[in-house]
Symmetry: C2
Subunit: 563 residues, 2 copies
Amino acid sequence: MDTNKIYKSDIEIAQQATLLPIKHVAEKFLNLQEEELELYGKYKAKLSLTLLDRLKNKKPGQVILVTSINPTSAGEGKSTVTVGLGQALNQLNKKAIIAMREPSLGPTMGLKGGATGGGFSQVLPMDEINLHFTGDLHAITTANNALASFIDNHIYQGNKLRIDPRRIVWKRVLDLNDRSLRNITIGLGGPMNGVPREDHFDITVASEIMAILCLAESLSDLRTRLSKIVIGYTYENTPITVGELGYEGALTLLLKDAIKPNLVQTIEHTPAIIHGGPFANIAHGCNSLLATKMASKLGDYVVTEAGFGADLGAEKFLNIKARIGKISPAAVVIVATIRALKLHGGIKKENLLQENTTALMNGIANLNKHIETIKGFGLPYVVAINKFITDTDDEINAVIDWCDKEAHPQALCEVWEHGGKGGIDLANKVLSIIDSKENHFHQLYDQNESIKEKIMSIASKVYGATGVQYTSIAERQIKEFEQLGWSELPICMAKTQYSLTDQAHLVGRPENFTLTIREFKISLGAGFIVALTGNIMTMPGLPKKPAALAMDVNEAGFATGLF
Amino acid sequence: MDTNKIYKSDIEIAQQATLLPIKHVAEKFLNLQEEELELYGKYKAKLSLTLLDRLKNKKPGQVILVTSINPTSAGEGKSTVTVGLGQALNQLNKKAIIAMREPSLGPTMGLKGGATGGGFSQVLPMDEINLHFTGDLHAITTANNALASFIDNHIYQGNKLRIDPRRIVWKRVLDLNDRSLRNITIGLGGPMNGVPREDHFDITVASEIMAILCLAESLSDLRTRLSKIVIGYTYENTPITVGELGYEGALTLLLKDAIKPNLVQTIEHTPAIIHGGPFANIAHGCNSLLATKMASKLGDYVVTEAGFGADLGAEKFLNIKARIGKISPAAVVIVATIRALKLHGGIKKENLLQENTTALMNGIANLNKHIETIKGFGLPYVVAINKFITDTDDEINAVIDWCDKEAHPQALCEVWEHGGKGGIDLANKVLSIIDSKENHFHQLYDQNESIKEKIMSIASKVYGATGVQYTSIAERQIKEFEQLGWSELPICMAKTQYSLTDQAHLVGRPENFTLTIREFKISLGAGFIVALTGNIMTMPGLPKKPAALAMDVNEAGFATGLF
């Protein structure tokens, strides 16, 4: 890239793009029938679940999973590579379709800006996707909080089920960054205003309902999963479910449109299904199973991503989502940037602009561990070096040389600047490993192993831990879960995304460490056990100068200040 | 009506109706251009604000305001009459269009069921309108709570503006009935989790942002109004606005689609614009000004409604919305039912099924007061007797005879059972008073009168109070508002809807009473002063058996249990 060039912002590029009517994309590129499409404006549509019936005998396309090294504050551009790779495959005349997560509004208004890729590898209309989109997250917020109000109302109206107000585990949510709501007391103000108790707000993407929506295979499966949600415990410590309260029908009704995947297009008109976005720490961090399945019926190649690094999103995609949905990925792309590798090599963010191949080669240990993990799943992979404007040739060559020496397939990726054209090499490498490499995909553990065995598999094979220790609370919970018949579920690890360990500051590839499981949380509706390590933030806060301060809309209705 | 007949539920009637594609309604009935329509599925659309430019020289149609006697637990059917009248006008080959409020989800899940009319006078698709519709309320909830998070973040990050956490008047909202959130404490859990303070959640329709959205005339007017919102006071008791915090752009961006009115159709394909729905107690209780104006440019007759009885919704429509929007209504329809009049006559709800013309004629005093009020505004009116299955002929004749004797134009209305056909008599009477009666519309007070003078006008001319008394807090606030230059704004009364007085149990037409103003609230963005009488509930609770318990959705995606 030319450092003297003036680059446009993502929103400027997005708004200068010419979009096709989504109806056109659906009919011409995907052969969708008119009644399978529900338009939300000209450029967004919901897809009817009936198309899965129509295409039930069609052989699914190849699923390509995009993951990355442990994220750093420098940004890795996983979404950008996902979009760019989809576009590149299309340029190679492959029928490719992208399946991504929906952005959460809270981080958009806070630090992060949008989550729709960048440069010439974006999904559009980026402002609408980043704001309310088709209302899925609002529907989840509403269903989540309606359930909370039903619980508190049940207690207020006589508490027939004997719910212990101190043992309610169902939290309220908002799709915002709002640290003030992390710890609250509710029901104050006397007998007419409810029963006082402690409560918490999470961000919507941390709601079990989000995880459920992303794993449900149909409307009736959604209802069944919702009815299984454990909302708390009685005074006798017996779990209480949504089904016992009787609200699974109302919650399903509130989600009847949110369950339908959303179709949009990239800047190069590649179809993209954007649907669901559970947190990759407290939940499994992948887009919806329905979206991925639908994409695999509509395209020959599906490019999809999972949240954070391969230790979180990819591990959960492969051990949880792929297990439930019986998906067998064809290949994995591991995204790394020079900047992030240098941070993993121990330098400080303020020194990022200086060339530093020593730090880079130290940091590459992080990439190496994620490569080993993907190999451990029996999957072929390509390393995508996502080029940034500040990378030097020596730095890039150092990573390429290392890959070549270690026989890791690699490709330099310039999709931010050049769109699909910048991802042709990556696309060709991906196609080549799908065609030629052997694929021995398998999960890392059996569901019916003990809780501790399953956790040990993840900790040792994915994180590189030498052991796992449990707090006394966690030990007690394991016994309780076993007694309740909950132990034969996959494990959803809740761990910091910044490190392979449970301590955020330990970058690179730490060795000889022990993982501590602090506590468990049952997500019986989603169908997994959450194992919490360290303190997991489920409600982010806003920074000193939130991104929202720069946002506005002009009189023509176009967003400004989104990035 | 035949009491032996088995009547279908509203949702059954709604789901058996055949809808036209909304594109067809927009193009054929309203001559809208394609780019003025943004589809949300096949049967809902948003209307572009640009059509107001295109039609700026077109003479606006006649606005017919539908109001009612003080509501009772028996239900008055104001929305049903509004829809039925619109349909009837269309049957008479008039180009009529309906402008209504959007339902709030909280009451729908609680006691109320839907708010989309009933029987054969409904707006459709009723399930979607009653649930998430086009997401307007979710956008308002998000903007409201984003602002709350910005305020708490400002304090947390150093509190440059010296906002006093004890004097924050901006509340959080949810579009749910949730009494547990009426009084809460937030920011607990130590220094990393915000600054502890008392807080409150209101229902979304009570948010000032809802009132603002309903009074804004353009996107830039919306931004100006949002920037004027007073969110609280400094330690020195100086008001702090959104503009000082710098978030008016982000809030406007979050509302850029919500400001666009929504087009749907009735069961008889009469176009209906459904947009906005501020509470008629804490706010002004009317659909959006943009919707009403748009409707008046698209139709020759606009049938619109205002919340609760004529003492609340109509008074505010005429004194606030009509003033800001320079609307001069052509006629008013005052809805009454035999059942409600009997309750106003002093009988108990359990005795409603017994014929009781004595109670009925006692209760008619309530109707009479509202007629006087509408006359006081200089407007022609028709009394609509909304027929219920349990009404006896003697009871109906008693009301008709009274109207005839007092020379009040009246019409028996059977729009629930017969749709537009059941409202032909009402429609003819409305057309006749528009053509023949004199219209001397005027507001009841001048904006630049003193706060006390304005309140006295409403209390005496609309409620029939003999005087107004003020608490010491209210007296102090009047002085403060005058000093701050806020006194020359219209007054938005916050009063119980059940009585002409400030005490809910005083039904009928109470006399010789004094109104007490407890406190004021400034809604500087909406542009009015809220005068609170008694305890106004701004966050409803759920009943013992919420309507949500019966709700569900079948595998085909159709709602069940909505009524």
